[in-house]
C-alpha cells in the first residue's frame, strides 16, 4: 500500500528531514512472462498501464522504458491542454481526456497542477477568422466550451498582446476555451507510475526493446537489454520511435519522426496568466509557475532522431513572439531543447490494433499528445484489454490510411496542437 500524500504526511516527514519518504515506485527486474507489456514509459504508456490495472483488472503487466520514465516527450512538451478540435472524432477524443484531467489530481492522489487558465487561439487574416469562427460553432455543437473574441476582447483578456493593426500579421480576433490550460508534465508521468505500481504493475526502466518475436500472425514476446519477456499482448507507446518498433515487428506505419523544439526564458514575475497560441505566425506562449515563459516552436521538415533541431526554427518563432509581445524584447532565453515527434499524414493519432494479433499501437500524436494523456491511456487500455477499440477511438484506427477515412485535423484545425 502506498501512504497517502497529504498535508499531514508532509508535516510528519518534515520531522525526519524528508529523508524517509516511501518510494513512489519499485525498481523491479522483469519477470519471465506478463499478460501484457507496454513499450514506452512516457505519460501515455504509464496511463495505459494504470487503466489496464484499474479498469480491466490486468495486474500482471509491465511497462518497459529504454531510459527513465517521463524523460522523452512527456518531459519536453509545453504542457498545453485543450479540446477545441474541429472534427467530431477529435472533439470526442480530446474532450474525453480533458474531463479526466479535471479530477486527475484527486484520483491519483498526486498533484498534477492542472490549471484551467484558458487557451486563446489568435486569428491574423480573414481566412483565420472564418476558420476559427467555424471551429467555435463546431465545438459548441459537440458540447465543448468555446467563444469567439474580437480584437478588443483579445486585448482585454491578455493585455500584453500588441493589437496594433500596423504589424505584419495584425490580431483580427481569436477563440477562447476557458476549460483549457496547462498541467505539470513530470507529475503526470510520476502520478500514473505511482498509481500503476501500487496496483502491481512492474515499471522497468533502462530496458530497451531490441526485437519483437512473432509466431506467424501473433506476438510471442519481446527481446530487451534485460532479456526475453514472454507476452501475448504488446502495446507500443513509443512516440518518435514508433516506426523503429514497428520495423522490429515487420509492419510499416504512416509516420515521419521530426524534431520539435521548445524553449524557456529566465524566470520573471507573473505577466501572462493564460496560454496564447497563434498558428499563422507559429508562436505560442504561457508562463510556468516558476515564472519562465514557456515557448513552443515548430518542427523541422526533415526526419531526425537527434532531439535537436535547426536554429532558424527557434529564430522564426521568437521573431513572431516579439512582434506580438514587444514587452518581451529584453527577455533572455534560458534553455532550449528538442523532442522527436511522430507525425501522421492527417495530424491525428493512431490508437489501433494492427495486422499482427496482440500488437497494438498508440502513436502519431505528432506535436500535440500531452493534452490527451489520460484519455489516450484510458482508451488504449480498453483497446488492448478487449481487443476492440472503444467507440471514441474507433475513428483513429490504422486502417483509415487504406480506406481513406482520414481525420484531417492538419488542414482543418491548425498546424500547432
Amino acid at each position: 500500500m502506498k501512504n497517502k500524500y497529504s498535508i499531514f504526511s508532509l508535516i510528519k516527514n518534515a520531522f525526519s528531514y524528508h529523508e524517509n519518504w516511501q518510494k513512489a515506485w519499485k525498481d523491479p527486474q522483469p519477470k519471465k512472462e506478463y499478460d501484457a507489456v507496454i513499450i514506452g514509459g512516457g505519460g501515455h504508456g504509464l496511463a495505459t498501464a494504470y487503466y489496464l490495472a484499474k479498469k480491466h483488472d490486468m495486474k500482471n503487466i509491465a511497462v518497459v522504458e529504454k531510459s527513465w520514465i517521463g524523460g522523452g516527450n512527456t518531459g519536453r512538451n509545453t504542457t498545453i491542454i485543450r479540446s477545441n478540435y474541429l472534427w467530431d472524432a477529435s472533439a470526442g477524443l480530446y474532450d474525453h481526456a480533458l474531463k479526466i484531467w479535471e479530477s486527475l489530481s484527486q484520483e491519483l492522489n498526486y498533484n498534477v497542477m492542472f490549471s484551467q487558465r484558458g487557451v486563446m487561439n489568435l486569428a491574423h487574416n480573414l481566412q483565420d477568422v472564418r476558420d476559427l469562427k467555424r471551429r467555435t460553432h463546431a465545438n459548441r455543437l459537440n458540447g465543448i466550451d468555446a467563444v469567439y473574441l474580437n480584437t478588443e476582447e483579445v486585448k482585454k483578456f491578455c493585455p500584453i498582446i500588441n493589437t496594433s493593426q500596423d504589424i505584419r500579421y495584425p490580431v483580427l480576433g481569436g477563440t477562447l476555451q476557458r476549460r483549457a490550460g496547462t498541467a505539470r508534465h513530470d507529475a503526470v508521468a510520476w502520478g500514473y507510475a505511482r498509481g500503476a505500481d501500487e496496483m502491481g504493475v512492474d515499471i522497468i526502466q533502462n530496458c530497451e526493446v531490441k526485437g519483437i518475436k512473432r509466431n506467424g500472425d501473433s506476438v510471442e514476446g519481446i527481446e530487451t537489454t534485460k532479456g526475453f519477456i514472454k507476452t501475448k499482448k504488446i502495446g507500443v507507446v513509443a512516440a518518435g520511435h514508433s516506426s523503429v518498433i514497428a520495423n522490429m515487428a515487420g509492419i510499416k506505419l504512416p509516420l515521419e519522426s521530426k524534431p520539435l523544439q521548445a524553449l524557456v526564458s529566465e524566470p520573471v514575475k507573473p505577466i501572462i496568466d493564460t496560454v496564447v497560441m497563434s498558428n499563422a505566425v507559429h508562436a505560442y506562449v504561457s508562463q510556468s509557475d516558476k515564472g519562465e515563459l514557456v515557448i513552443g516552436a515548430g518542427t523541422d521538415d526533415y526526419v531526425s532522431y537527434t532531439q535537436k533541431g535547426s536554429h532558424h526554427i527557434v529564430e522564426g518563432t521568437l521573431n513572431a513572439i516579439l512582434e506580438l509581445y514587444p514587452i518581451f524584447s529584453r527577455m533572455r532565453m534560458l534553455r532550449q531543447w528538442g523532442g522527436i515527434v511522430d507525425i501522421c499524414p492527417d495530424a491525428s493519432p493512431i490508437l489501433s490494433k494492427t495486422s499482427v494479433k496482440g500488437l497494438y499501437f498508440n502513436c502519431g500524436w505528432g506535436t500535440g499528445g500531452f493534452k490527451a494523456t489520460p484519455g489516450s491511456g484510458d482508451l488504449f487500455a480498453h483497446t488492448i484489454a478487449n481487443d476492440e477499440p472503444h467507440k471514441l477511438n474507433t475513428a483513429f484506427n490504422l486502417n483509415r490510411f487504406i480506406s481513406g477515412d482520414l481525420v484531417d485535423e492538419h488542414g482543418a484545425a491548425a498546424v500547432a496542437h
Binding site: 516506426s243 515521419e256 519522426s257 535537436k308
Partner: protein, 91 residues
C-alpha cells in the same frame, strides 16, 4: 547538419533547402490497377528509418532543383548527395 552540398551549386546553408521526404518511392505505372492497400503503401506508409536513409531534397532558395541525399537520421550526418536519376552511392 548546417551545410548541404547541392549537386548543382555546391555547399550552401541548410536554410536554402526544403526536405521532400523518403526517396526512391516508385510512382505506380498503372494507377487504375492499384488496390486500396497498394495506394496506402504508396501514399502514406514510410520507412522512417533511424539510421542511414535516402531522401529527396529541393534547393528551394537556390537553383530550385530536386536532388537526393543519403543521411544518417540518428546524428544528422550527410553521407552523400546525388542528382535525380543517378544511382545511389553504395553505403
Amino acid at each position: 547538419m548546417f551545410l548541404i552540398n547541392c549537386p548543382y551549386c555546391g555547399e550552401r546553408d541548410q536554410q536554402e533547402f526544403k526536405a521532400g521526404g523518403e526517396a526512391h518511392i516508385k510512382r505506380p505505372k498503372q494507377p487504375t490497377e492499384l488496390s486500396d492497400d497498394e495506394w496506402a503503401e504508396y501514399l502514406f506508409m514510410r520507412k522512417n528509418i533511424k539510421g542511414v536513409q535516402f531522401e529527396r531534397w529541393n534547393h528551394a532558395h537556390g537553383c530550385r532543383k530536386w536532388f537526393n541525399m543519403v543521411r544518417d537520421t540518428s546524428n544528422d550526418e550527410i553521407k552523400a548527395t546525388y542528382k535525380m536519376g543517378e544511382k545511389p552511392p553504395a553505403q
